[in-house]
Each structure stands twice: as structure tokens, then as C-alpha cells.
């Protein structure tokens, strides 16, 4: 395949950025999107041009490092029926001769570090505010010591699959991190171990979310539609429910 790439190049956090065009020939449709970028970087290195900086780690869709916006769609999902991460997107999804736009996540809370790499520490601040349970360490308790109902534990597990990639924020017209925050809220709210801190957690995490510079959720649904782990919009519903309930509890006042 021959493709033309238009990639966002930005030298540093405060440097101005712009789209740069690169031609790439002999791309195999079996390549992943990141392998295609590797190929581009080899070509650029040979031409003595600074390679394009992009984040990646596992390359198997589980670490959440690799997100970029491809043709305006987070992780390049477009209209595909299958949710994906950028590393699991393959070049067969593109037509020969395609012009492909590649941009970093753009959000107030995710400043660009370089080219396609953004700083997602804002997510850490949200998790630090309450995305945990407090227990005494020691010998591991018996697996069956605390019964967890099946329906709830499955919901908890589904929500625990969030990989913190940030696609939800990138796709949101408000730059809101509510889907990410709600995945953790729902995960812990469904389990017995999450109950003692439930009201405190939701207040603290929503406050940290707002303080980190994310926008407010207006229930549009772009987030859930690009989420590689299919965290549903219903998780935000659960967060709202818990938040309203927490207003009538003494915790955190």
C-alpha cells in the first residue's frame, strides 16, 4: 500500500505545533498502525529527520499507552464495529492511497509533551483521590471470605478492565474524564470491599476530576463509543447515582 500521513509535529510542551505530510510506500496491510509508524520513523531517521514521538508499550491492547487520534477518531475506530486500541488497529482498515491524519489526544488536562505524546498524569490524580480501598496488609484473606453477588461482581469486573488510555477524554467534545472516573467508581461500588469508602470516594474523585482540568459531562456518548474496553455510558449513570446519594451522607462533609 501507499499512504500519505499528515502527522502533528510539536517539538515540546510550549512549542507551536503543525501538521506535517509524509509519504510512505510499501506499507503492508498486515502491519499494525504502530508498526507503520515504526517504518515511518526508520525512513525519517535515514533522511536525518527527527522521528515522530509516540507512546506505546504492550502493543497488545492492554496497557493503555498507545492512543492517538486517527482521522478525527480516537484510536482510529471510525465506523468499525469492533472497539480497538491504536496498537490493535491494522493497516488493512485503510484504503490504498489513503491520506491519514494523526493527532495527539487533545484535552486541557492532557498537555502535549512532544508530537503525539501527551501527559496523562491528571488520571493519576483522580485515582489518588479515591480509586482504592483501605485494608490492612498481611496474609491474603480466603477467596470466599467475603461473598460478592454474581451480577455485581461481573459489573465490577467489566468496569475494572479500563486501561486508562484516555480515549474517552480525547473523544469528548467537553474534554471530560467522566467515563474513566465512573469506571473506577462503578468497579469499587459493586463490591463489598468498596462499601466503607463509597460515599467519600465518589465525592473525592469527582472533585479531583474537576480540579485536574477536565470538562463536565453532558451525556453525549462519544466516550463510550471509542472506549477500547467498552466501558458503557451506564457507568456514568452509576457515578451520578452514587454522587447524589453521597450528598445525603455525612462522609466527606
Amino acid at each position: 500500500m501507499r499512504i500519505k500521513l499528515r502527522i502533528w509535529r510539536q517539538a515540546g510542551p510550549d512549542a507551536p505545533g503543525a501538521m506535517q505530510t509524509y509519504q510512505l510506500d510499501n506499507v503492508s496491510e498486515k502491519m499494525s498502525f504502530l508498526e507503520m509508524l515504526d517504518m515511518l520513523n526508520e525512513q525519517l531517521t535515514a533522511q536525518d529527520i527527527e522521528p515522530v514521538a509516540f507512546d506505546h508499550d504492550c502493543r497488545e491492547g492492554i496497557c493503555g499507552m498507545c492512543g492517538v487520534v486517527i482521522d478525527g477518531s480516537a484510536h482510529g475506530r471510525y465506523n468499525s464495529a469492533v472497539p480497538t486500541t491504536t496498537c490493535q488497529l491494522h493497516m488493512r482498515s485503510f484504503a490504498d492511497g489513503a491520506v491519514i491524519d494523526v493527532e495527539p489526544w487533545r484535552a486541557g488536562a492532557f498537555p502535549v509533551i512532544k508530537d503525539l505524546v501527551v501527559d496523562r498524569k491528571a488520571f493519576d490524580r483522580v485515582i489518588q483521590a479515591g480509586g482504592y480501598i483501605s485494608v490492612n496488609t498481611g496474609s491474603a484473606p480466603d477467596a470466599h471470605a467475603t461473598p460478592a453477588p454474581k451480577r455485581q461482581s461481573e459489573k465490577a469486573f467489566d468496569n475494572a478492565t479500563c486501561i486508562g488510555c484516555g480515549a474517552c477524554v480525547a473523544a469528548c467534545p467537553n474534554g471530560s474524564g467522566m467515563l474513566f472516573t465512573s469506571a473506577k467508581i462503578t468497579h469499587l461500588a459493586m463490591l463489598p470491599q468498596g462499601q466503607p469508602e463509597r460515599a467519600l470516594r465518589v465525592k473525592a474523585m469527582v472533585a479531583a476530576h474537576d480540579a485536574a482540568g477536565f470538562g463536565g459531562c453532558t451525556n453525549i456518548g462519544e466516550c463510550a463509543s471509542v472506549c477500547p474496553k467498552q466501558i458503557p455510558l451506564a457507568s456514568i449513570g452509576q457515578l451520578n447515582r452514587d454522587l447524589i446519594a453521597s450528598l445525603f451522607k455525612g462522609d466527606g462533609k
Binding site: R6, W8, M19, V69, D71, G72, S73, R77, Y78, N79, D101, E103, R106, A107, G108, A109, F110, P111, A171, C172, P173, N174, G175, S176, D210, G213, F214, G215, G216, T218, N219, I220, G221, E222, A224, S225, V226, P232, L233, A234, I236, G237, Q238, N240, R241, I244
Partner: protein, 217 residues
Amino acid sequence: MAITGLILIAFLVMHMFGNLKMFIGAEAYNHYAEWLKGALESGGILEPLLPHGWFIWIFRAFMLACLILHIYCAAKVWAASLRGRGSRYVSVTRREQTVSARLMRWGGIALALLLIFHILMFTTKTIRPGFEASDDPYSMFVGAFGNWWVLAAYIVFMLVVCLHVRHGFWSAFTTLGGNVSPQARTILNALAYFVAALIFVGFMLPPVAVFLNLGVN
């Protein structure tokens, strides 16, 4: 924002219901309008609980307070979005966003302006197309909607209103914790379409009937 929005939608449904009284005839319609304003000889709504003519002013103040709170919240959310979304994408592909969701903010501004126009017309009677300030509500209604441009303006008005209600209804119930499963999402969205369509049809029936001279005298 959700609560004030739902109060405004409830008002719309009541208002629409009141307007439909038009089909019963001039007397029923005028009687209803005067009852609301406490201008009937026998008094009006909530009399003798409230002194003569107080209800309408308390109600107006309450609606205005809801409207102002609603707009205040909208401005805060808008400001948070401008900060939250950072620099703009060169290319954007949306997968889910509905037209109504996209138009909430600019549509909301258009709605506020059209509402001012509406009040200037039927409440303060500053703009009087086809009627006199001394006319009763029914003659005012019939006079105004004899003009094609008034009808056209209200079609636009109601389209803007119903788009706003379409996303607003779903969004309000989600914010209040109603959306906790994919089925709930489908049901809330379907209800939102239903309420928006109901309001559009219900509001447009009387003006269209007046304009076409159908069953209205």
C-alpha cells in the same frame, strides 16, 4: 441544571395543553387565560388561598428563577468545556453525538432570544402583528397566526425548542442517575424523542389550524 431543565419541560407541556384549549373555542380559551392570571370575576387559580392576582406573579418569578439558574449552570459547563477540551483537532469524526446534543449551546442561546420575542409579542404586546393590545388572548392568537411570517417564526421557534428538549430530556434523567443499563439508555432516549415530538405537534396544531382556517372561528 437537570432539575431546572425538567421544570421548564413540565411548563412547556402545561403551556401546550393550555394552548390546545383553543380548539374548544374562544370562551374556553379566554376563561383559562384569565383564570391563570386571577382576572376572573370569581377570582382565579389558587383563590382564595392566595390574594387576587398573586399566583401569576409568583409563578412568573419561579419560572424566571428556574430559567436564570438553568442558564447560569449552562454557562459554567460551557466554560469548563472550553478549558477541558484544550486545543482543537484538525480533523474530527463523531460517532455518537446527535444533532440535538451538538446544538445545545448555540440552540439554547437562540431559544432564549426567541423566548424574548415571544414574550414581547403575547405578554407585553409590544410586537402586535394582526392584533390590538386591547384584544382578548383568543383574538390575539387568531390575529397573530393569520400572518405567514408569524407562523414561520414559530415553526423555527418550536424546532429550536424541541431539539433542545430532545437532548435535554435524556441528559437530565441521566444526570439524575436514571441511566444505569443499556436498556435504560434506549428507553430514556426513546422517551426524549417522544416528548420532543409531542411538544412540537401539540404546540404547532393551533397556529397551523388558525393559519389554514380549520375549525377555528
